[in-house]
């Protein structure tokens, strides 16, 4: 690894930091119901969409907001399912791809609507062009928009405002954020070499005289929303490791920035909405610290490489190159694996199954913690939940009633949060144990790594990430159904419980800040927050991580 490779990562992080605050302020204004300049620009177009859709611009109760969110997503999952089941008979299918099998369609429909994009099919052979550009792209727009609506409603609750209207938030997320940014970045991707065509695969006669079929398609438009919406599902089987889906260092940079764009700006949007940017900045800095630590561990592990291969006497300055692409090298591959799991996107530019054990542990831990920025909207809601836990624990330690943004945290909220906290390890560890006991033949790598493969699959599903240790033979009814259920519960249970927390807090009378109030905008609070995240994470997952990646590292 050269100094330039590390400098490139530092520059990327600096661009991310520079973008976070202005984008956050824009988001806060874009989702404000009071008249402002952004509303004046976008409202005329949106009114047309509301009219066609039958949306009334009226504030909903917390229950109605949650019901609209879950209800609309459930109906959309069903529509996506139907199109996948019948894609073989529908138009725009030049490769003649067959209908998707029921358990796989179940998995895929939930996967894309739950912002996970775990893929048990391969893009080249499993879905038609129609499925790709209609239902999958549709879900890739609507699921991040749902996440963005959720986080805005949640912050409104914490700051004592009304919930707003789910459908208005959903459409605003699309017209004001996702569609314009996706359109511009899709075109930038085309200029970098990403195809956007409806022509079928090209046939080439190679120099050595053999035939080569080259799959292509409308990849650029898919790719832009895949990264921006923290979706992560690839148009082609190997996702952003495919040269068409990530042709060079520049496209790689744009993908990383798109993954981080919204999720890193949300702390600032929150600070603005809470009336003090400092409230958001402390969370941003805490998460940035965790991100830098994760990046450093991953870079070191991949640079040291695989001792077993290095011992063969070859030249290994490039670090571990199995499952990596030359144009990215070890540094950009390791960095991408950290970002894609921090921002819960799940796009990959290197095969995570082939990462060194410690290099593979970093993405796993990112998904287990789910608080190193996290996915579109839901990630930051999770972060705020941990902030409330941090306040609660600090309150217990000094014997005062804990308050967050001037509202008392009481038994009701903590019960809902405790349920949310317990659901995640339950969704990861129990199915992993069942899978290892009942389906050992689907695991492709022997030894401790096999355990990590199953653990990774369920962690990725529960965290709605979608990357995988892809050696796993996961296109079976067992994996399709089990991960489908885990993705669904991992997405929607916490949405409901945390909206209930927001509703409950919004109804409380704010109490004025006094000298005894535990402040949530100081470095001290940032440290407590990180401590809580790490302690809760370690208590829950440490044994599983020791049995998987750490044990594997020790055997090399």
């Amino acid at each position: 690894m050269t100094v330039i490779s590390i400098l490139a990562i530092a520059v990327t992080l600096l661009i991310m930091i520079a973008l976070a605050k202005p984008v956050g302020l824009y988001l806060a204004a874009a989702f404000d119901y009071a008249p402002n300049r952004i509303n004046r620009i976008f409202s005329p177009i949106e009114r047309i969409l509301y009219k066609i859709s039958g949306v009334r611009e009226e504030s909903q109760s917390w229950k109605m907001y949650a019901l609209s969110l879950i209800g609309s997503n459930a109906i959309m999952i069903f529509i996506v399912y139907l199109v996948l089941r019948f894609q073989g008979m529908l138009p725009l299918n030049p490769a003649g791809i067959a209908n998707m099998e029921p358990t796989l369609a179940f998995n895929t429909a939930i996967s894309f609507m739950a912002n996970t994009d775990l893929q048990h099919y391969s893009g080249e052979s499993g879905v038609s062009y129609l499925s790709q550009i209609s239902v999958l792209v549709f879900a890739m727009f609507v699921s991040p928009a749902t996440g963005l609506a959720l986080v805005m409603a949640f912050i409104r609750g914490l700051t004592g405002k009304a919930a707003g209207n789910f459908f208005v938030d959903l459409i605003r997320a699309l017209t004001r954020v996702l569609l314009p940014v996706a359109f511009v970045s899709a075109l930038l991707f085309v200029f970098m070499g990403v195809p956007q065509t409806f022509e079928p695969a090209a046939t080439a006669t190679t120099i050595e005289g053999t035939q080569q079929e080259i799959a292509r398609g409308p990849i650029a438009s898919f790719l832009a929303i895949k990264e921006l919406g923290n979706n992560g599902g690839g148009f082609l089987g190997v996702n952003s490791a495919h040269p068409f889906e990530n042709p060079n260092g520049l496209s790689n940079l744009l993908q990383i920035l798109l993954m981080l764009l919204v999720t890193t700006s949300l702390p600032f949007a929150y600070g603005k909405m809470a009336g003090s940017i400092k409230q958001g900045r402390v969370l941003f800095v805490s998460m940035l610290m965790m991100l830098i630590v994760m990046t450093s561990i991953s870079l070191t592990a991949e640079h040291v490489g695989n001792p077993a291969l290095n011992a063969l006497g070859i030249q290994h300055d490039q670090g571990s190159m199995e499952g990596k692409e030359v144009r990215f090298g070890e540094a950009q591959s390791a960095f991408y694996s950290v970002i894609t799991t921090a921002a819960e996107t799940g796009a990959v530019n290197t095969m995570h199954d082939t990462l060194t054990p410690i290099g593979g542990m970093v993405p796993l831990v990112n998904m287990m913690l789910n608080t190193v920025f996290g996915g579109m909207g839901v990630g930051f809601v999770n972060v705020l939940m941990y902030a409330i836990i941090a306040v609660f624990l600090s309150g217990l330690m000094v014997g005062r009633t804990p308050e967050f943004l001037g509202r008392k945290i009481e038994g009701k909220e903590m019960k809902l949060i405790a349920v949310t906290l317990l659901v995640q390890p339950f969704l990861i560890l129990v199915p992993t144990a069942i899978a290892l006991a009942t389906n050992p033949d689907t695991i492709s790598n022997p030894g401790f790594h096999g355990l990590t493969q199953a653990l990774y699959e369920f962690t990725s599903s529960a965290a709605n990430n979608g990357s995988g240790f892809e050696g796993l033979g996961d296109a079976t009814p067992f994996w399709n159904i089990s991960t489908g259920i885990v993705m669904f519960l991992g997405r929607y249970v916490s949405m409901v419980t945390l909206l209930a927390v927001a509703g409950s807090l919004a109804a409380k009378k704010p109490i004025p800040q006094s000298s005894g109030t535990f402040r949530t905008d100081t470095a001290m609070f940032g440290a407590v927050f990180v401590g809580v995240v790490l302690i809760v994470g370690a208590l829950t997952f440490f044994p599983a991580v020791v049995l998987g990646p750490i044990a594997e590292q020790l055997t090399l």
Binding site: V238, H242, G249, G313, I314, F328, G471
Partner: protein
């Protein structure tokens, strides 16, 4: 009940906007502004026949050409993938030892210590169009012997087909194997 009705209508509206308008708008601008790239950066020969894509690797076995990376799918670009061998998988070691043995027979003049790791590892996509500059250099003696092209000339060709880091910063320098081999073919 109202939610169901609004959802169905919203789904319809958003399908028009996000699927139809968005995809087609990107497609129209892409095809007008950068048709070559939008159709897959295909390379054609003098007769106009497609001989590959500058972004997609091909399998090269002739000793007179530069070879690409290991591909478990043998550069079948109608799919993509790797065997996903974990670092602890014994098959990874077996395959690598086999690649090293083949290297020794094909390149008797170059020591193993000069064999870069990217040449004997499977790429992420199985379609990696590149090798590292060191991996190209290591093949100069073999290609020179098989084609009769001078080593200096091959050195120049490698440099001409090495793409640097994007903006001088992002990614790693890489040699495009297909484009390099086309130049080798022309120089023969």
């Amino acid at each position: 009940m109202r939610i169901i009705w609004v959802t169905l209508r919203t789904t319809f509206t958003l399908a028009i906007v996000c699927c139809l308008i968005y995809n087609l708008a990107v497609w129209a601008v892409a095809q007008a502004a950068a048709p070559d790239k939008a159709n897959g950066s295909l390379i054609r020969n003098a007769e106009g026949q497609v001989i590959g894509s500058s972004l997609i690797g091909q399998s090269f076995t002739d000793p007179g050409y530069f070879h690409g990376r290991v591909s478990s799918i043998d550069y079948d670009a109608n799919g993509s993938g790797t065997p996903n061998y974990a670092p602890s998988n014994p098959e990874l070691l077996t395959r690598t030892e086999k690649s090293i043995a083949e290297w020794k027979t094909e390149n008797p003049d170059v020591a193993i210590s000069e064999l870069p790791i990217d040449l004997i590892t499977n790429s992420g996509s199985g379609l990696d169009p590149h090798i590292s500059p060191a991996a190209a250099e290591a093949q100069i003696p073999r290609v020179s012997k098989a084609t009769g092209i001078a080593k200096d000339k091959l050195e120049q060709l490698i440099q001409a087909h090495t793409q640097g880091r994007s903006l001088g910063l992002f990614g790693e320098p890489a040699v495009n194997v297909l484009e390099l081999n086309l130049a080798v073919q022309a120089a023969k």
